[in-house]
């Protein structure tokens, strides 16, 4: 269960990647993948992060794990400012945070057996060896509903869903408190998605895990998350509880995103209002001035083209970055 204690926090985090060009590979511009993102996740809570491809979801997840040296801002974990941590100290705190990848095909080393893949973190961190090691690997396999005898098989002998289970077991090996799930089900078939989502939710209860759940599918995110953050072009545009986001979405982009997702029930879906966006997501190298979203927004006014809206609390735990939303 979620407590009030904050486990992870980002404060105004920016992550720019340089664009190099010319003979001397000089820097000509920045890709502003993450541009001033702030949020927190409470202990035991699941925060969903949704947005379209290229909006900076994955980069945000990696900033939380300190897989990058961020351009500016602060990253806190269990109250420690870990922004500048390096070496042994970073390695030790990283045991508490893990990552589950999107693609179960490329994230497992094809030349290692399932058992070696799952047990590797235990060996790297020199936690156990010998008989105890094998017992822990078997226990991890059972946790993700695989059988211990499968430890000797190689990734290609498993189906997509089973590989994703191996990826999850590897993430659990160090008994982390916090896991970043980066699109963990979007590469899987529908019937297998339900299996993996249910598994992740069960593990969360049993092991008291905290998730940052990154996905583009808002229905999956709503199902698993307590709160949801909507991202657009490197910025968070709205953040609130998952029920509130569906019942009372305020940012025009959240509205469009919600209406773009059809509900698998023809009677219900055909009564919904549809908002169609025009155009594509702009380039994060030269984001539009003012509000990032204004070129695609059907409500845009002069102020939206000039000033950048701030993420404001409009009551409860509902935050929106839009000029047109007032308290």
């Amino acid at each position: 269960m979620a407590t009030n204690e904050v486990l992870v926090e980002l404060k105004d985090v920016r992550m720019y990647f340089p664009v190099l060009a010319g003979l001397l590979r000089s820097k000509v511009a920045d890709v502003k993948a993450v541009d001033g993102v702030s949020f927190f996740i409470r202990n035991g809570e699941t925060l969903g992060l949704v947005g379209e491809s290229g909006c900076g979801k994955t980069t945000t997840g990696r900033c939380v794990l300190r897989l990058y040296d961020i351009t500016s801002g602060k990253v806190y974990f269990e109250g420690h400012d870990i922004t500048k941590w390096r070496g042994e100290r970073l390695r030790r705190i990283r045991r508490n945070m893990q990552l589950i990848f999107q693609d179960p095909y490329s994230s497992l080393d094809p030349r290692m057996t399932a058992g070696d893949i799952i047990g590797e973190p235990l060996l790297v961190h020199k936690l156990v060896k010998g008989k105890e090691y094998r017992e822990q690997v078997n226990e991890l396999l059972r946790m993700v509903e695989l059988e211990p005898r499968m430890a000797r098989r190689y990734p290609h002998e498993f189906s997509g869903g089973q590989r994703q289970r191996i990826g999850i077991a590897r993430a659990l090996a160090l008994r982390p408190k916090f896991i970043v799930c980066d699109e963990p089900v979007s590469a899987l078939d529908v019937s297998i998605q339900a299996q993996i989502i249910t598994l992740l939710m069960r593990l969360r209860e049993e092991l008291n895990l905290t998730y940052l759940f990154i996905a583009h599918d808002l229905s999956v995110v709503r199902h698993i998350s307590d709160r949801v953050a909507v991202m657009y072009l490197g910025k968070i545009v709205e953040i609130t509880s998952s029920d509130e986001l569906y019942d009372n979405p305020l940012h025009p982009y959240s509205l469009a995103l919600l209406s773009a997702i059809p509900i698998p029930d023809p009677v219900v879906d055909r009564q919904r209002k549809r908002i169609l966006l025009t155009g594509d997501v702009p380039s994060p190298i030269f984001p539009p001035p003012g509000c990032n979203f204004h070129p695609r927004c059907n409500l845009a006014q002069d102020i939206c083209r000039q000033a950048e809206p701030e993420l404001k609390n409009i009551g409860g735990e509902h935050w929106v970055a839009c000029h047109l939303v007032s308290k």
């Binding site: 297998i192 229905s219 997702i261 698998p264 966006l277 997501v281």
Partner: protein, 296 residues
């Protein structure tokens, strides 16, 4: 019409068969008939099928990036079929190409005509695919997972364009997808496939309202729904889809994963039977299914 099912259930192969695009060898259409506008496409000559393909029936593939030719301009790819099938002159074909690009919502169409596919984003490339598909006013468009690789807001735009084209030109559309939401929103008549066979077919409202095949029930209930506040448990279809090469012919292919399976299901393969008006299901227990679901 919508054709739904999971990966490797035979959706795409069915569609490619209609176009007679199954590579031979190794593939071969071993039986049956494909009736299109009153003719059996399996009996027409190679010459005739080429005339039908792209002209009367056209196809939109999943990955626009790999389906468009990277070394030809968009103009060349659009005008090719216009000149070939509709016998338009150079200028007429050019004008028509501009009109088509505008139709699918590409801004600045006149100028962008001379660009190459890589200069467009994924969503824009898929729009170009749609423009090529409708260029010869086909009577049937087959869209094979047309929006799986694009973002949700772009997906909504593309499907809306396709829906408008359908209304405007009266074109029949087959959408192949695994997304039950897309089916609910855009499809009139659903065919559900499992392990290479049709398991259920009927009007969309009926399929979602009173499904008669356990696989259909599983498909509909295994996806999280955006509109449900209560965190219900997802319905889980246990296990994996079968290996089509080792599939026994004498059992119901879904029986190993079916919670309503009885011993008879493992002794014979069910055929499609009528269970309602325009509604067919291939399940031995299809008549009892509503009661069984009610009982839990």
């Amino acid at each position: 019409m919508g054709l739904v099912g999971e990966s490797a259930c035979g959706k795409s192969v069915s569609a490619l068969s209609i176009m007679r695009l199954i590579p031979n060898p190794p593939g071969m259409i071993v039986g049956g008939e494909i009736i299109f506008e009153g003719r059996d496409l399996l009996k027409v000559s190679e010459e005739e099928i080429r005339h039908i393909r792209g002209n009367r029936i056209s196809m939109v593939f999943q990955e626009a990036t790999t389906s468009l030719n990277p070394v030809l301009t968009v103009k060349r790819q659009l005008t090719e079929s216009l000149e070939l099938h509709r016998r338009l002159g150079k200028q007429a074909a050019h004008d028509e190409a501009v009109r088509l690009l505008k139709l699918v919502g590409i801004p600045d169409a006149e100028r962008r005509l001379n660009d190459y596919p890589h200069q467009f984003s994924g969503g824009m490339q898929q729009r170009i695919m749609f423009a090529i598909a409708v260029s010869c006013n086909p009577s049937l468009i087959i869209a094979d997972e047309p929006t799986t690789s694009v973002d949700v807001t772009v997906q909504a735009q593309l499907l809306e364009i396709m829906n408008n084209l359908r209304k405007e030109f009266g074109t029949a559309v087959i959408i192949i997808t695994h997304n039950m939401g897309v089916v609910a929103r855009y499809v009139d008549h659903v065919h559900v496939m499992y392990a290479g066979r049709l398991t259920e077919s009927g009007p969309t409202e009926v399929i979602y309202g009173q499904p008669r095949h356990p696989y259909t029930i599983g498909l509909i209930n295994s996806v999280p729904r955006l509109d449900l506040r209560r965190k219900r448990d997802l319905y889980i279809i246990p296990g994996l889809p079968p290996n089509l090469a080792r599939l026994p012919k004498t059992i119901c292919a879904f029986s190993p994963r079916c919670k309503y399976a009885i011993s008879e299901c493992r002794e014979q393969r069910p055929e499609l039977e009528q269970v309602g008006e325009d509604h067919y299901a291939a399940c031995l227990r299809s008549k009892e299914i509503p009661e069984l679901v009610e009982a839990g």
